[in-house]
Subunit: 215 residues, 2 copies
DNA sequence: ACCGGTCCTAAGCGATCGCTCACCCTTGCC
DNA sequence: GGCAAGGGTGAGCGATCGCTTAGGACCGGT
């Protein structure tokens, strides 16, 4: 390891899989810039500048500016899907698993708000092929949540008249956290995760027996 | 009246208050363009072209491109606030009024998705002064919803441990409709409004006596 | 010492951006 | 008819965009 840079906080150290060190620094700079100003308002000179390089350096590691967004979006979605699956496929009742899935998914969006913002809101700055690939990943996310809800309905724990619509609403609620969450605000990602898990359990009618809190 | 253009659908004919006819056509063109591509990716030439004018015509009615976004955002927020207040301040129990408030607010975001998208997601393309003005309007929206929930808690109809957090979640849920709603999709704005009203009533614990559907 | 490969920079190309300027056409008022 | 005012256009200015090109610094292997 060359540079021992670790950003404190909930963002952990993602992008570890991006192999050339300079390429990772550029990608990290792009995430910050895209999250702050949006994809179209970000210049390649700004990205390179944040990474401490000349504008031309970007094109050694990435073919176009859009490829940067594509890679960020794909890695980010895979990460989010992984977080969700870990919770969704654990042991336990649908109630427990749904609570943990929502809680961890929300924590990911709140804690890694910088990344999540780019991943969730810059989708249609991508070209058709890249967008199609990302949409496929999103369908997997949707299927994961819908699976838990369907199971809960079958087991009688949940009371959900419209499974598809409720799944949509649950995911919408979680994703929108990336829009409003403020790092300097009064709530921690953990608090929001716990609150949202409780709200979602109410939405699926799981509070009739006993409300299980994910701690 | 000169041009009898009316767009069919739920968008009605807003922007009626924009007085010079050419200015309204330009503004309508800007809404479409901003919603499709985002503010920064939209060129002034594109806006003028959609309105059937030359690029220079834009600057007769608006000082800058940002002024267009500012006006769209302010008028849109006022409209959304008006829709919400009409439902929130009607007669009836907090349960009924919350259901109608959510339902109509969602219908506005789904039916007028083009406008809502610009209004809700291009906020930070505005300068500091304009953004501050819009944020003030948002606080009024928040206060309106929080008022109903607080009233429901006082009357015993609702069971809400975290009023501020739940208010945030309810509004987040409604606003995010503008992101995912698809006009060609299988759900109408009315259906989504009814579904969301039901989900929100569950979130505030209003389903214990009887579930009132807004029809 | 010489090499090929990797990583990077300075300079700049063509295109396009937001916006301006000089000028024209129509309209209403006297 | 005269004429100011408002609404419009064609051309283009300076700036900046994404991206390319030519070339240099550093590296380990032989």
């Amino acid at each position: 390891m060359s540079t021992a840079e670790e950003t404190a906080g909930a963002e952990a150290q993602p992008w570890g899989e991006v192999t050339p060190d300079a390429a990772r620094r550029l990608l990290l700079a792009a995430v910050e810039a895209f999250a702050e100003r949006g994809y179209h308002a970000t210049t390649t000179r700004d990205i390179a500048g944040r990474a401490g390089m000349s504008p031309a350096a970007l094109y050694i590691h990435y073919k176009t500016k859009e490829e940067l967004l594509h890679r960020i979006s794909r890695i980010g979605h895979e990460k989010a899907l992984d977080v969700l699956r870990t919770a969704a496929r654990a042991e336990g009742s649908p109630t427990l698993r749904l609570a943990e899935a929502v809680s961890s998914f929300v924590r990911w969006h709140a804690g890694g708000r910088t990344t999540a913002r780019v991943v969730q809101y810059e989708l249609d700055s991508l070209g058709p092929d890249a967008r199609a690939e990302i949409i496929a990943l999103r369908r997997l996310v949707d299927a994961e949540v819908r699976g838990i809800i369907e199971e809960g309905v079958r087991s009688g724990e949940f009371d959900v008249p419209d499974v598809r619509g409720t799944t949509l609403a649950v995911l919408s609620l979680c994703i929108d956290v990336a829009r409003w969450f403020n790092v300097n605000g009064s709530r921690t990602p953990e608090e929001v995760g716990a609150l949202y898990a409780d709200l979602v359990l109410r939405m699926v009618g799981a509070g009739r027996t006993d409300t299980v809190r994910a701690e």
